[in-house]
Structures are given as structure tokens and as C-alpha cells.
């Protein structure tokens, strides 16, 4: 969980005009997110997004995904992996250990991402990581009909879940996943809500088999320049 990483960056870069806003995509709300937030003691805004509103507005499809927004409220990097890579796929599922090479690669990418933020905070629009409009548009996925249909199905599922109709909810979660398979927020949120006795279902065998089904495709599409 990255909340402590953003806290350290806020302490370092906050005085230079930087602020992280961490958004928890958690349909179960405060109960689910609270232990993590309490442990991280964030002094930056840490909000809870039960309906995945920010995910829909910014087209975020996974966690951690991030968007960079400049002082004028303009997007200078569209939704992308915030330093996370597919290195986690080399995890040994019995011992929960990772090959040293993967660990190194994972840490290097996270550090590169943090350094890109540092460069942006120091250099503003002149930073090579603050993308020009044409480049932001080139990288941005703009929603099509299947994407908004998926979002509406997911929203209906969340509402039914909130009303206590757990099984009915899963039907709409499944439709959302089918319409937008690359949206892991749909897939994993649905897994975590499936069985109230097993809130970690989103990291269990069902999750790993969904990851395995990707084959050569990426779980976190690589970020071109970081």
C-alpha cells in the first residue's frame, strides 16, 4: 500500500507546492479503508470514493493509477500506473516471496516514478515529465460506448450491494467486467464483495487465475517515459 510513500513525498515536496490526493476505491466505504488510513497517518487529503466516481471521471482502471494536475487545474499526465509494474507476477504464491531481480526492478520503477514527480515539482511545465497537450491526448484513453455501459453496470451493482442485494449485484459487476476486461477496479472490487467472510478475495486464487489469463498482456501497461 502506497499511502506512506505519498506521505513522505508530501513532507518533502509539500513546501514546494505539491499535494497528493489519495482516493480509496472502496464500495464498502470507511470500514474497509479505515485501518490503512489510520496506520499511514496521512496529513494530505485521503478521501473515500465508494462509488468509484474519480475512476470514472479520470478513466482510472487499476490501483495505483495516477493523474498529474498542474496549478491551473490542467491534466499534464493522464491516468497511468503510479510506479507499479508487473514484477508482482513473479511472486511465489506459496511462500509469498519474490525473486531478487524482480524486487530490484519493482523498487527501481517506484523510485523512478517518485523522481519524475520531484522533477515536475522542481521544474514545472519545463519538466520533461509534464507532457504537452498533444502528448497527453495521444496517451489518454477516451471512453467509448462499451466503457460507459460498463460503468453504468458497475454503478447499478454497487447500488444493489449497498441495498443488501449481494447476489444481484454480482450479475452487474460481471457485465461490467465483460464489457471492460482491462478495468481491474471492477474485477477486484467485485471479488472483494462476493463473500463478506472473505474480504481478501481480491488477492486470492480467483485474482491470480484472472492475472494468469492475461498471458503476455500486461496487468500494468508500462509507462513510456518513466
Amino acid at each position: 500500500m502506497d499511502l506512506p510513500v505519498w506521505q513522505a513525498m508530501y513532507e518533502e515536496l509539500g513546501p514546494k507546492g505539491f499535494v497528493p490526493i489519495a482516493v480509496a476505491f472502496d464500495s464498502a466505504g470507511k470500514i474497509a479503508a479505515e485501518p490503512w488510513i489510520v496506520a499511514a497517518k496521512p496529513t494530505y487529503p485521503c478521501v473515500i470514493d465508494m462509488r468509484h466516481i474519480v475512476a470514472e471521471l479520470y478513466d482510472m482502471v487499476n490501483v495505483p493509477n495516477a493523474v498529474w494536475i498542474d496549478e491551473r487545474g490542467r491534466i499534464v499526465r493522464p491516468s497511468e500506473s503510479a510506479g507499479a509494474t508487473d514484477a508482482f507476477r513473479t511472486l511465489d504464491r506459496k511462500t509469498f516471496t519474490m525473486p531478487e531481480e524482480s524486487m530490484k526492478q519493482m523498487q527501481a520503477k517506484r523510485l523512478a516514478y517518485q523522481n519524475a514527480i520531484r522533477d515536475w515539482v522542481a521544474n514545472g511545465a519545463a519538466s520533461k515529465f509534464a507532457l504537452g497537450e498533444a502528448e497527453v491526448l495521444r496517451r489518454m484513453h477516451t471512453p467509448g460506448d462499451d466503457d460507459v455501459r460498463a460503468a453504468a453496470n458497475f454503478r447499478l451493482g454497487e447500488y444493489l450491494y449497498e441495498c443488501g442485494h449481494r447476489e444481484a449485484a454480482q450479475k452487474y459487476f460481471d457485465t461490467a467486467r465483460r464489457l471492460r476486461p482491462e478495468n481491474w477496479n471492477y474485477t477486484r472490487q467485485a471479488m472483494s464483495l462476493k463473500d463478506p467472510a472473505n474480504p481478501l478475495g481480491a488477492s486470492g486464487p480467483e485474482f491470480w487465475s484472472a492475472v494468469d489469463e492475461l498471458g503476455d498482456r500486461k496487468y500494468y501497461p508500462p509507462v513510456e517515459d518513466i
Binding site: D2, V23, I48, V67, G73, A152, Y159, N185, R188
Partner: protein
């Protein structure tokens, strides 16, 4: 025809227990319910919200307004919005139109939102204008 107490989700607006007439894919609402649930008001020039009015195709007028009721599903289709309905629990969900969502994203203006922290205090993106913001997702699951 069925007279139903129906829950409506329209974008970020949730309106439970609306008296709706449901006929196949049509959802007929009284004018005050239409406004309460969706923000749209029916006027001679069409369906209006804020500064915008959507004219109704004259040849199909009866599909949109009849007998003091208004078909929100027909309006949503006209606007290209996705509609998902759960008959058993009587919930209709109207999402954002793809073209509208794409247009907003492509403007590169970061869309504003307002969400609570643990203590219930609301935070809006617009409060942080003048700063460099890393908007970053995470989840407990």
C-alpha cells in the same frame, strides 16, 4: 403498464422511491419527479437543464411526453446515455454518455469532485488550485 416505486440513479444523483410507469423500455415520470431525479424540466422548447435545451424530434414527440408524464429513457437514448435496469429490485441506472465523457476528458480540464475523508470532512479538487496535484488511487482490497 406497471405503476412502480422505482429507484433512479442518474449520474451522481440517487432518487429512491419514484412513482414511475414502466412500459417495455420506457420510463414515464411526472414532471416534478423528472426534475427531482434528473434535473431536466420539460418546456415548450424541449427538455431543459441549466442553459441547455434538448429539442424533441417532432415526429416522435409522443414517445417523450404524453398525459403529463415524460419518458426519461427516451431522453437518455436521445442523449446517448447508457441505461441499465434491474427489474426485480426496480432500479434504473442512467450513466454518462460516452461522447460527453470523452469531450470533457479531451478538454484536459481536470474534472472537479467532492469526497469525504475518514472524519467525514469533504475535500474538492478545486480547493487545491495553485498546487501541483498527484491524484492517485488505492484500495483496501
Amino acid at each position: 403498464m406497471a405503476h412502480n416505486s422505482t429507484d433512479l440513479i442518474y449520474g451522481e444523483r440517487v432518487t429512491p422511491g419514484v412513482a414511475a410507469e414502466i412500459r417495455d423500455r420506457a420510463l414515464w415520470l411526472r414532471g416534478e419527479d423528472l426534475q427531482r431525479a434528473s434535473g431536466w424540466i420539460f418546456k415548450p422548447e424541449g427538455f431543459c437543464k441549466d442553459e441547455v435545451c434538448i429539442p424533441v424530434p417532432p415526429a416522435r414527440a409522443a414517445q417523450f411526453a404524453a398525459g403529463g408524464r415524460y419518458n426519461l429513457a427516451a431522453l437518455a437514448e436521445l442523449l446517448g446515455q447508457p441505461i441499465v435496469a434491474d427489474e426485480e429490485h426496480r432500479v434504473w441506472c442512467f450513466g454518462a454518455a460516452a461522447a460527453e465523457r470523452a469531450r470533457k476528458l479531451k478538454s484536459l480540464e481536470a474534472p472537479d469532485f467532492s469526497l469525504p475523508d475518514l472524519a467525514g470532512e469533504m475535500h474538492s479538487l478545486s480547493e487545491y488550485r495553485g498546487k501541483k496535484v498527484l491524484l492517485v488511487s488505492w484500495a483496501s482490497w
